[in-house]
């Protein structure tokens, strides 16, 4: 692959002129410009971004950390970020962390070695992250996404998770439900799940209901029915479930139906995220919709602002409760909620 020097030689100009032909063509005489471009084309010259980046001390690359790309809530955000970044001449360098704090630190380190201009992070737990204080110390520009740290000083883009789940809980209350539970993945690995649980708890108390301990699944996005089953029996059994994310909710619904429960007649289920898939299934998923695309766009904007030296505040974007077929009014029934088992076991 040829370089600028070769192009310059071929065009019969100096390296400097050849370089200018690309970066500031207006400073170059038209005929010279043409010669350089012709030479470049003949040699199929391709500017070396590594050299540019090294020289200019700027990569125009944004590093992005995502817990799990298999969850649409992240890819829907990512899609928007890519468009927004590209519009400003930035490329993304994406890596998954698997909700693992040590991996987060490792990968950030690698990205800093690659000299990314800034970072967009979704970390497992923003409150207890030494990574964030390190970045602050080294004054690396970064933005948190989906995380909702307590501290006002941290730069973050999210919805109000507490308030959102509060509202979802109240919605179930308004549908007549009195026995409402919440299902989540490994809570220790997700500050969001904790905040959402807090929102649930407050709402339950405000409604004068008994809040239940969180029903914790070993996996963030996959339910295990045997952990759920105990809550579905007896006179105090749950009639509605809040899930800490949509994938988990979909999994819960699938399991319930397979066990012979009707959703929402026997059990109402609400998710969190508002992924598109939730609108395709039947029953459609009632969910707390996070504006994933807007969050992604905003994250890029905020990061670029920080990179310019501004000090943008925390961005709290509005959520929205999307009603769906998976949540309905409480059905009175004198018998056990469980019907006879159909089809498979």
């Amino acid at each position: 692959m040829s370089d600028l020097a070769t192009v310059a030689k071929r065009a019969g100009v100096s390296r400097a002129t050849a370089a200018r032909a690309f970066s500031q063509p207006e400073l170059v005489r038209a005929s010279t410009l043409a010669r350089v471009m012709a030479a470049a084309a003949e040699l199929s010259f391709r500017p070396n971004r590594l050299a540019q980046q090294l020289r200019t001390q700027a990569t125009r690359i944004i590093g992005v950390l995502i817990p799990d790309l298999r969850n649409p809530v992240f890819t829907e955000q990512l899609q928007a970020m890519e468009i927004a970044a590209r519009a400003q001449g930035y490329a993304l360098m994406v890596t998954t962390t698997g909700y693992d704090a040590s991996r987060e630190a490792e990968i950030v380190e690698e990205m800093l070695c690659q000299r990314v201009d800034g970072l967009v992070l979704t970390v497992a737990d923003a409150e207890h992250s030494e990574l964030l204080v390190k970045l602050e110390q080294e004054s690396v520009p970064y933005v948190l996404v989906y995380n909702q740290p307590d501290s006002e000083s941290v730069c973050a883009v999210s919805v109000d998770n507490r308030q959102a789940m509060h509202q979802a809980t109240q919605y179930l209350y308004s549908l007549g439900h009195r026995h409402i539970g919440m299902v989540a993945g490994p809570v220790a690995q997700s500050d969001r799940a904790r905040l959402r649980y807090e929102g649930y708890c407050r709402a339950m108390e405000m409604c004068g209901l008994v809040r239940q301990p969180v029903i914790e699944m070993p996996h963030h996005t996959r339910a295990r029915f045997e952990l759920l089953a105990p809550w579905l029996e007896g006179p105090e059994r749950l009639t509605a479930l809040l899930c800490s994310n949509d994938l988990l909710a979909l999994s819960v619904i699938g399991d319930l139906q397979r066990q012979g429960y009707r959703v929402p007649d026997d059990l109402s289920v609400i998710g969190f995220d508002g992924i598109e898939l939730g609108e395709l299934t039947y029953p459609s998923l009632c969910s707390v919709v996070q504006p994933r695309a807007a969050i992604g766009r905003e994250a890029v904007e905020v990061l670029l602002a920080r990179m310019r030296g501004e000090q943008p505040k925390i961005q709290r974007l509005p959520h929205q409760l999307r009603e769906g077929e998976s949540a309905g009014p409480l059905q009175r029934s004198d018998t056990d909620a469980r019907r006879t088992v159909p089809v498979s076991t």
Copy 2:
């Protein structure tokens, strides 16, 4: 951010020695090594990969082109690729193309400017891609994934799409279905959809059945019921549908159920890809499973081999028909397949 020269000075050694301390520590006396490391730590030195990459003419970065990250079939593959690449000391640089050939070319160009060591591509249409011939000419190492080009000489990792859909069609036949149709996204944008349709056609002919024209949706992963409806009426109505991918199949099933059809009793539906989500829903999705993770791993292996100068052949990985609740035996019925509409419209 400090550089090697500063570290060297601090440690009282030359730049070369400082560099060796990192790249070939065994060549450096233990005490010197310690001094260098101490100095590096004090200065919180972070090696500049750009400089390394420029100097060594190798980035250890693999460029990856993905049609749409919101489709799990791609993220499940990507997940495996990231692990495999990382194990060999490579990072991924991922970008989405939206099934757009001009974007594919643009992005590859950018990645080559960034001097990626190789490319993993899933293109819209491998047969009619001038991009590929260009890469071949410039001898850029690349591998196709999911694409299944006719030419034996192109390096690609995929299942046998024709054969796979052939088998799925036969499976429906074996369940008693005689009126089988196929739904796909924009066929012009997907060589895979075309191959799968060919497989369907051959199977239909082999079974002595009438093959139908493809039912084409405007979006790859989202059905529109009004385009489907005409096929579900009359004495010759379809009793089974093959879909060119799982997301589309899920969307079809949701629509059907919302319109009052029972799946699989009124209509059997089979997907293609075998995404995990398909196992969570109810009914679970019958699907042609592509080994996404194995495909991802293999893609990385094959690419690395090519980069070493080897000439690996086409890799054809085995698919598998996963039975699921969405496909069942043909139900005899004298009435219209359509039941009364429940719940919502």
